[in-house]
Symmetry: C2
Subunit: 166 residues, 2 copies
């Protein structure tokens, strides 16, 4: 399981989607799970700590069952709490935590989805980085810095290190 974590707008989904597409092209049986997409299936999921953690635990459980049947999982979630990421790590056989470490000021500068602007105006609450915490991984298997590496370079780095890992 390749678990991408990082702030909103850090670039994690862009990289994860590319990794997923490349694995699929190679014939790997692989599932891609994206935080935003999954929330659209479960629209009542809120953003309190409790709701976020439950959402992540459920996702992690699903991933672990897919993995148990030999399906590789690529997941992209803000997943701000160390506790929930560690819960998922314990469930999975192979948990690779990939920290997309783009700092807040850079994510906010890019603000692709205009969410930071809205969070700053108070139109969105519990927004990670603004009025909700992000706990960086203590020992991620890989850290990607999108300021110094291009998307292509990041994708290549993930595939080189973990593309045959499973």
């Amino acid at each position: 399981m390749l678990w991408f974590t990082g702030l909103s707008g850090s670039g994690k989904s862009t990289i994860a989607e590319r990794v997923h597409a490349e694995l699929e092209r190679r014939g790997t049986e692989v599932e891609y799970i994206d935080g935003d997409a999954l929330r659209s299936v479960f629209p009542t999921t809120g953003f309190t700590r409790e709701e976020r953690e439950e959402h992540l635990r459920r996702t992690g459980y699903m991933a672990s069952r897919l993995e148990a049947h030999g399906i590789m999982v690529v997941a992209s979630f803000v997943s701000p709490y160390r506790e929930s990421r560690d819960f998922i790590r314990k469930l999975c056989r192979n948990f690779v935590e990939i920290y997309v470490s783009t700092p807040l000021d850079e994510c906010e500068r890019r603000d692709v989805k205009r969410l930071y602007a809205r969070a700053r105006r108070g139109e969105i609450r519990n927004f990670t980085g603004i009025d909700d915490p992000y706990e960086p991984p203590s020992h991620p298997e890989l850290t990607l810095d999108t300021r110094s590496s291009s998307v292509d370079q990041s994708v290549a780095q993930v595939l080189e290190r973990f593309g045959d890992y499973f």
Copy 2:
């Protein structure tokens, strides 16, 4: 996906476990999901309508993703609400609803887990059949009557009709 629904103590898990074991023995890639077992992974899940439905929708989504990768799913859940079962039906490619129709008085007479006695004493709330509703399937693909059929007969019936369905 073989989805067993019925009251607590109806015998659905006994039949579903046997079906799962037999499919596995035949070499089918199959996952078994049981309501009680899953609740032990997510112990904070309550029994209000809202919590039950969310729990079932999450389970159904997981099952549909497993199914999408060619894994057959056998699931045993009280799943009392038509709405949540229909939600899962829509997510899945092949949804086979198996109604284990053992009536309340018979489930209560057996009361294998002593749960009906506790529900009658008010020690358990929101207990399906006692102080919470059970909505029987309107058009189940199969109905099993455990009063007139043995476990062996029920298992055989499921496998004969749906063992090669996927």
